[in-house]
Symmetry: C2
Subunit: 270 residues, 2 copies
């Protein structure tokens, strides 16, 4: 298969949801690659089908596991990249999950040239869907499953709010095991910390925006006060949650128009 191509390792973002979330540039690079690898464990792409992707790109796709990448240091990928044009396909944008930075460093140390073909990221998709202003988001945080839970997410939300900033919370998932922290669970975990710390960060009257299936054809958004959000049915995963800081009136209008916020939200505008 290898031939006229130079050896290199191209990290390509699959974008969101399905096999057509990838950019045209990304697909063209894949079509001309000697070796095609894909990982599907750092994020969920609900409607991606590997066979359909293979039909689109005309190549055999090697789906690599967390074990192969993290315990075996991606040696199969690196070996291929020493021989020919190799693409490594990653859900969303390649390095938004920090997992693959080591693989890129290792390749460069072996003298393999690397580059990136970017894809739509879940982070910018969620912000875009909400209509909240991107430049008003502070640090992003992941809310882990109960067994790994700590006070960190609460503290990040508190710190962001102090400066009027919004917080995007990604809810933990094990994509291959189909386990997903739900929005209700995340709110309950944060409320437990509130009971202890009593800083008024997550109360029944706190505004929040739940987002399910960002990037899919039918995302579900619901903005409401925490006391009402617990009973809302968000449907299928993956899930995320935004805790807005200070909101401009246009941001409130966006939440009313796109996320079914109650008109009460208007009194939150500053």
């Amino acid at each position: 298969m290898q031939g006229l191509n130079l050896n290199e390792l191209i990290f390509i973002g699959l974008g969101l949801n399905d096999e057509k979330g990838i950019s045209i540039n990304g697909m063209e690079e894949t079509k001309t690659a000697d070796y095609v690898f894909m990982e599907l464990y750092t994020s969920l792409m609900p409607d991606l089908n590997v066979q359909r992707f293979e039909a689109l790109c005309g190549k055999q796709v090697h789906v690599v596991s967390r074990r192969e990448l993290e315990e075996e240091n991606g040696i199969a990928v690196l070996e291929a990249a020493k021989k020919g044009k190799t693409v490594f396909l990653v859900p969303g944008e390649p390095f938004i999950a920090t997992t693959h930075v080591t693989l890129r460093i290792d390749a460069e140390k072996l003298g393999v040239k690397t580059r990136i073909v970017h894809g739509a990221s879940i982070i910018s998709a969620i912000i875009s869907l909400s209509g909240l202003h991107n430049y008003k988001f502070g640090k992003t945080v992941t809310i882990p499953f109960p067994e790994n839970f700590s006070e960190t997410p609460y503290n990040v939300i508190a710190q962001n709010k102090k400066f009027g900033s919004h917080t995007l919370c990604l809810l933990d998932l094990k994509a291959t095991e189909k386990q997903f922290l739900s929005i209700n669970q995340a709110v309950a975990l944060l409320s437990e910390v509130e009971k202890k710390k009593k800083e008024g960060v997550i109360t029944l009257g706190t505004a929040a925006v739940g987002v399910a299936r960002a990037g899919s054809k039918k995302p579900t958004l619901k903005a409401d006060f925490v006391k009402n959000l617990g009973t809302f049915d968000f449907g299928e995963p993956p899930y995320s949650l935004i805790f807005p800081g200070d909101m401009h009136f246009m941001e409130v209008e966006a939440l009313i128009a796109f996320a079914g916020a109650p008109s009460d939200f208007r009194r939150l505008a500053r």
Copy 2:
């Protein structure tokens, strides 16, 4: 042209750099649209050619100006969306620039259904290229041209650093007039504020990462101390700048491998 399509308004991200930065889903929606609009003033796509885009999608593309969208409230787009399937193409991810949120709200108020097909965003591309950890970035800030300059960017960087967070600075641009704030100019503007405020936020020994042409086939990255960055030639625009907060040693290694950071950077790792 209108026919079997329902009327709706789809905001589609063009992704980065050229006419093939768009996702396959985005291109397929465009091919089946009754009306195709595009704006090219909120961000620069250096290698996008409208004629080549028209050839790819097989549709006539109406490029709309800032005046038509902001002063005339996008009435041409809304009128089309009342009649048939209308797509509105935006550089990067549609709502990362906050400009178009109003248009989406107006459409929904007129009873026109809206949705989003996401694209790669300049924000996640820059973070991805740097190898710095996404969850350690605080608020993003735009550094404006000298005539609009204020202390805000300095204050945002200072506030982020206080919590160990990185700051992504987008450098202002007027895409249609081909005016771009350079990395040298941005550093000089911030240094002026430093002279006044003396908080030690931007000194000659401060680490920074300059990025040019993120999302293109040949981006330029250079990590160095501020005193050395001023003479570096970044080539063509657009430009951005990262001021790292506390760095994990893997982040430092990434800057050395991908952004030519001097080995001195290793003493910055925490």
